[in-house]
Assembly symmetry: T
Homo-oligomer: 68 residues x 12
């Protein structure tokens, strides 16, 4: 109940969907941070090439539990 | 033209997509409120379990017509 | 490096996904504007018919290079 | 002094003025809610037909006293 | 996991502390709404009488589970 | 349903009312843009001369349908 | 060109219109401050009595030239 | 009803609580300004010394009636 | 004077007060980060159990000096 | 007095200063738009190469008079 | 430690740089207010003449210590 | 294309310019973080001594590539 959390800000990208860009960022974070608990989407952008959306770039904040 | 609308704030969730979380909230709202007209996404969050996105939580405002 | 960009604001719609609504707006923009470079999602709304989401309406800002 | 208030969000419309759109929303609210106390304008939009403003749409939050 | 929540906006007041103003709003809400889950402080104001703070007025959003 | 809209930002002015400043901006826009659909008030300012309000300056965003 | 301005924040009220509430605040400010130059509307609220709008309360920022 | 108010921005501090920091700012304001009516908390900060919170710094806006 | 600071975002919790939730987050941060200098409250939430506030969750940004 | 203005959004860049990035955007705009009147800085970013700031990217809104 | 500060809002201008516009505002403020402590840039605008930036206008908030 | 970025928040200072304060923060960051890619200015403040600007304090977010 009285946990302390830290929040970090990441940008994930994906050629397919907004959801996939978020999951790619999470997957990378999970390599070095344990106890990931929740995320909040902060900003959604897309890079365009040849007049078409090339990939999504989604900025998220991710919260995780700090060990006591 | 001179309709009056009320807006309520809901949070829907889904294990699959942001769109599906919104639709789940709408489906629930439609059980008790008629004349739903539009929605606005206010916030998009995700709950994480075992380092992976477990489900999306999307906060929306939903507008509906008030009977005269 | 010292490019000048212009940003315009568009609203795209789609009966399927948020991503598709963005792509529809881009496709229309690419007909008259060249050198589209990036986009930012500004607002996501949905129109509701018969208690179900009928189509998404996504407002984006799109940046493109101005010819020197 | 220690009253508890609830705030609801409404959209009123009028073909004439912003003030009138607000009053139309209040008039409708007063049919079912007592003890309305104050309002805050949240957003002001207008619908356009044939190149002219057809009607104002004003979103307000209205606060009212909850019975103890 | 796939719960749907509704959020309502309340203003609580107290002559003592900000925390107490929030608790007074919750206590009132709990009389008619079950399954209250969380709150977010939106705004904190104070009314002043004779040059001293007379009571706090704290606006909160409260989320609760909608029955399926 | 799957229309694409463009939004432009204008500032209209009037010596009389906020509503009139908006209408003046719309009237000018309608000369060169067809299919105006809606507007959103972004900012309301006033210029003061001799201690009195001389004219209102209202910034709006106007949305219009792009031909396919 | 290189004037320095100060901005102060006022709340004006009126039983009739938003514009009139602003003018009442300006009229009061002009009694003690010279060289008023512009204003920006910050917030528009209304007080309600007996289910009807009793008076508008409009918060403005007013800019004026500081003497060198 | 048609009062005009002025709002000023103050920062109060206290080694004990957020509420006390606000009261300290009010106490100072009341020495030179009469008719203080309400306050709004704008920002809450804390200064840290030796790894512990040393004192709170709370920015408020205070509204008071202007004499006619 | 020309120090460089880093800011991190933490969420502290407490069953008693908002101030205590902040102090719990600071206490945890001080275990691994030296030279903590100031904090800013970003968001205040509460978790509710059995219709009563169970604990406060306060999000803060904490600034600390980076060694040269 | 009753001019109508249009605002467009541009991004200028410069390897030297923020002011220069703005001037570069203005210089480009002045090639095709007459009667430029004012600008507002919306966002300031920098691109980094080899650990050093390579160039500034400043987003501005520029207002200009529309011919009657 | 338990100082009380007041914040005022000023607009400074300069034909050269953003920094210079801030300093011009400070220089003017220092003529009548003692104990200026810090400033925050709120908004940066520029006036344009003949297609070129004529002068910067920078809005700042300035904090100063109130005598006890 | 599918890079993942992390963003950190820093405050740099300088007695000369806003640009220099940013560069000082970058220089410090580059000592421990590789692959810095871009920055965004979040807030610009100044400390005042003897009525004059003593040094600028600029808060930035800096994005850098996370190794896969």
């Amino acid at each position: 109940m009285e946990h302390i959390y830290k929040k970090i800000e990441l940008v994930g990208s994906s050629t397919t969907t907004i959801e996939d860009a978020v999951k790619n960022a999470l997957e990378r974070a999970a390599k070095t941070v344990h106890n990931l608990r929740w995320l909040e989407i902060v900003e959604t952008r897309g890079q365009i090439e040849d007049g078409k959306l090339a990939y999504w770039q989604v900025t998220i904040k991710v919260g995780f539990t700090l060990d006591a």
